[in-house]
Symmetry: C2
Subunit: 571 residues, 2 copies
């Protein structure tokens, strides 16, 4: 059994109001929301998640989704939970105002993303894809499509999916073969097979809207020939309600390592009806809106699953007595064994780093339109997605280790997080795809300007730490300064390689370096925030310890990775 879910409200309170030295939410929303409002929203979401979503996590894993006579069924409780989720307004909360949603700022949506994923990652994927599609349709759909589909998605009545992958077109989207042929009535006929479609069919909502990448007749080869289509499970009738069944069939669902509560479908389109979104040939651009949203969402999922695994490990270690603990009185729980404590601090400090970077990124997106931070936001998306998901896999493994032999027993529940987490570095673009995007489009293309802007911000934090009279601040400044130098050296290596195999052979180490470094920066900012305050907070000591631990155990990885990056491809 998974442990109870405890929403990380205090961390979000700190992140919204203190960690960055200002009310981040108020700045990002020009005062429309404050850090206090944001914390209340997070607390409310946390309460909902703990009471409604978390209890279904184990059930989803054990019972799993099943396909019967062409219809996917979720385990008992999922449909009710989804209805409650919609009625509580959590789908609408995700949607921008332009689409009729609440227009919550990105910093808050980062927190919500963590909470849905942390309480029930399989369930959260339905939310994630629906939210992604809302953003994609809001950006590109015609008024007619907005009225028919977007409103139903925003109200939560219908859910969304993302149809990219085919048996021979995964990472290489240019190989997509699904065809869309125009019909006389303005609709399109779609035929082909799509695989790995998350929540591609289910019984928790009355209709499903598929966003499908397909090739049009006479389109150029490769990715440029792709267009984007909306294809619903049930075609809307004259009143906009689900009518006739569209020619989309669920052929199979996958038997997976984890996220069993999320149905992964093989969908077959046979002369199915679809509607063009945006321009012919503009499919990839349109899908990228959804994909970018989903990639940032993966950072929040990584944080959520990591949080759940950490909480379970911490609860076990604090409740378990066994043997004498080195230099501690009898009756001390195993959480104080030097190595168990190391594992818990290791998890906790990585968790804070990814959570903080998620909020920081969410805020950047909000400010993107007004102050040009969009470039930095785009730079950080692949880093958060790649680094946080890879780290989350390692973190969930640590959570098993804390349990000893019990961790390997499925009933303990912690193994589920380990199984669930393993998909994250793969879907929504593998870590290699993220790293290629990073070095190809975001480092080499602007000759390292954005990377250097980021390093300069970090250097300012080093200066701020130097002004503080505190041992942790002194250590953190020294470590961060060296780490920034390693980041600059690695960036110079990548720029030296240019568009070559040398660059792409070390793109993942480079991405992991920047992610690890960004995590260290997040901790450094927390140190500055905590030590700059007049009145001490309850969690101050813990925050300083966490930063110090990250600096000693995780941040040094940047030096290892810089050496790897410098070597280029090993011929």
């Amino acid at each position: 059994m998974a442990s109870d879910y405890i929403p990380p409200v205090e961390d979000y309170r700190f992140l919204f109001g203190e960690a960055f030295g200002l009310d981040l939410v108020a700045r990002g929303t020009a005062g429309a929301f404050s850090a206090e409002d944001a914390t209340e929203i997070i607390a409310g979401a946390g309460e909902f998640a703990a009471s409604v979503l978390a209890p279904l996590e184990t059930i989803g894993d054990r019972a799993g989704a099943r396909l019967e006579d062409g219809q996917v069924h979720l385990p008992t409780g999922f449909a009710e939970a989804y209805r409650a989720f919609v009625e509580a307004g959590w789908i609408t909360a995700e949607a921008p105002e332009s689409a009729g949603g609440d227009g919550l700022p990105g910093s808050i949506r980062a927190g919500l993303g963590e909470i849905w994923n942390g309480s029930n990652a399989a369930f959260a994927l339905c939310w994630l894809l629906t939210a992604g599609q809302i953003h994609a349709l809001d950006a590109a759909a015609s008024d007619e499509l907005r009225e028919t589909y977007l409103t139903k998605l925003v109200s939560g009545e219908w859910t969304g999916t993302m149809n990219l992958t085919e048996p021979d077109a995964g990472t290489d989207l240019g190989a997509i073969r699904t065809m869309a042929t125009p019909r006389d009535d303005g609709s399109w006929s779609i035929s082909g097979q799509k695989i790995f479609i998350t929540w591609g069919d289910h019984d928790v909502a009355e209709n499903i809207v598929h966003l499908v990448l397909a090739r049009t007749p006479d389109a150029p080869a490769g990715a440029k020939g792709l267009s984007l289509f909306v294809a619903p499970k049930f075609l809307p009738d004259a009143d906009g309600n689900p009518g006739e069944r569209n020619a989309v069939t669920t052929v199979a669902i996958e038997h997976k390592l984890g996220i069993h509560g999320s149905p992964t479908c093989v969908l077959s389109y046979e002369d199915a009806t679809g509607y063009l979104v945006g321009e012919v040939g503009g499919g990839l651009a349109g899908m990228f809106v959804m994909m970018n949203s989903a990639r940032a969402g993966m950072g929040f999922q990584a944080t959520g699953i990591s949080n759940r695994a950490y909480q379970q490990a911490a609860a076990y270690a604090e409740g378990r007595l066994q043997g004498a603990v080195f230099d501690r009185p009898a009756g001390t729980p195993i959480a104080e064994h030097p190595d168990v404590r190391r594992l818990l601090l290791s998890m906790q400090s990585r968790l804070y780093a990814m959570r903080a970077l998620g909020v920081y990124l969410g805020d950047l997106f909000d400010r993107a339109e007004t102050d040009g931070t969009g470039v930095l936001a785009e730079f950080l998306v692949p880093i958060l997605k790649g680094w946080a998901t890879e780290d989350a896999v390692a973190l969930t493994s640590d959570a098993i280790q804390v349990h000893g032999g019990m961790g390997f027993i499925e009933e303990t529940g912690v193994a589920q997080h380990y199984r669930d987490a393993r998909i994250m570095p793969i879907y929504e673009g593998t870590t290699a795809i993220q790293s290629n995007d990073l070095i190809g489009r975001k480092v080499i293309r602007d000759s390292g300007a954005t990377a250097e802007a980021l390093f300069s911000e970090m250097a300012e934090t080093v200066a701020a730490l130097r002004a503080l009279d505190d041992a942790v601040a002194v250590r953190t400044a020294e470590r961060l300064e060296r780490a920034v130098a390693a980041g600059r050296a690695a960036t110079a290596s990548v720029l030296g390689f240019g568009q070559s195999r040398d660059a792409y052979a070390v793109s993942v180490p480079y991405l992991m370096l920047l992610g690890t470094l960004a995590g260290g920066w997040m901790h450094a900012l927390a140190v500055v925030a905590v030590l700059s305050r007049e009145t001490a907070g309850e969690s101050d000591a813990e925050r300083l310890r966490s930063a110090d631990f990250y600096g000693a155990h995780h941040l040094p990885r940047v030096h290892m990775l810089a050496e790897t990056v410098a070597a280029g491809e090993v011929a």
Copy 2:
């Protein structure tokens, strides 16, 4: 489905005859076996494993062991395979001559251990525990016990288990509560509950011999009060054949993350009959013989599972065409994508490092009695066990990543290796237990003398590399020299901490540093061997590349870890 199993015969040929600059097998056995003999034995074992054991691996995972009416049943095929395994003489091959076995040298047994585990890890656990018990009984059992039990184990008719853990006595063996009370007839009455008993019951052999740690009446508290007992499933009759059922009951079997083909039992002893092995109070010493054997065996299991995962990933990547490969002609498989190639080389280079260290350790044990290498062997056991098993978990994760989305689908088979591997850093003593043994008993106790002896040997390899006129040799020498310096610095840190929480809070990073460094040394020795030969070998280029890759991607980790070790406990 798992891929076909290809025995790594060529690597063992190289390790036995070339890697260490001499015929290692002939030296270790004073000429009784040569490297050529050894390679033939490995080839024979590999053939058996590929045809008999490997086909059962997926079956074991899917069907799993099941408990019915107090009897554990293995999936169809396991009993036949075990019979064939015994008939082919592979149990007897493991036993020392003193126990009526073949007395194969440790270097060959390292290779066999890898092969059984690599073809079917769940099956191999039965072999591993039986072999461990053979060594334990050979060291401590009375003539009567030898005749009744040891001969049956060596012949393969009966199998062995290791009964340590109880619900409140896992890592802390001193908390064991199972009681053994002497009876008038010289036997003992054993009562208590043991958990996590691997192959604790099954239907593949006619009898099972449990080696049980229990407390005797009036024994001192803690580990000193423990004695060792043999307790069979069926009590031998007058002819030594399985007779009456002993009072040992299988209460449950565990539902685990992996190794489903290996039954993990809860055993209840209720006035069961047992026989004392060795002296009263000498239980832990006796069990340590078995445990040491099992811990080295974990190194071979880590190698075996890693090899299987690597082979499956390599086969997939070499057979899969998708999209254009950077700077390679059309039709190049994904194995040549820069990042897929990185993942494959990363796996392959770690695999060689652990395989080589296993053979090196096996050889040290052989020479222990004649030239005092036993101290170094004991030093390396926790390093191999801790480092190789942790690295194997990361390596099987890489194997999933190479497959992309297909890696997450259970039918692909690669996820099984990831699930199976996760138990290795836990059982036979967690990584923390290995690291505490390492720093407490093997570094601090002799003031770093053994560690320094190892570093000096590595420094000699640096000198040998320097004498070679080759770019890889130059790079390897420079990297290894810096890494040895990091190892010395970390050892000085640990010695400076002494027996304190500072030392035990960084014992795992210290162990991982030494393991990573030892792996780099193994590669460096291979570079020397390859470049010192007159005639080039077919696999030379690959070996040099592997060493170069390890030096660029894995060895730099020692610097990261040295920084972590130096920090001690983060207060």
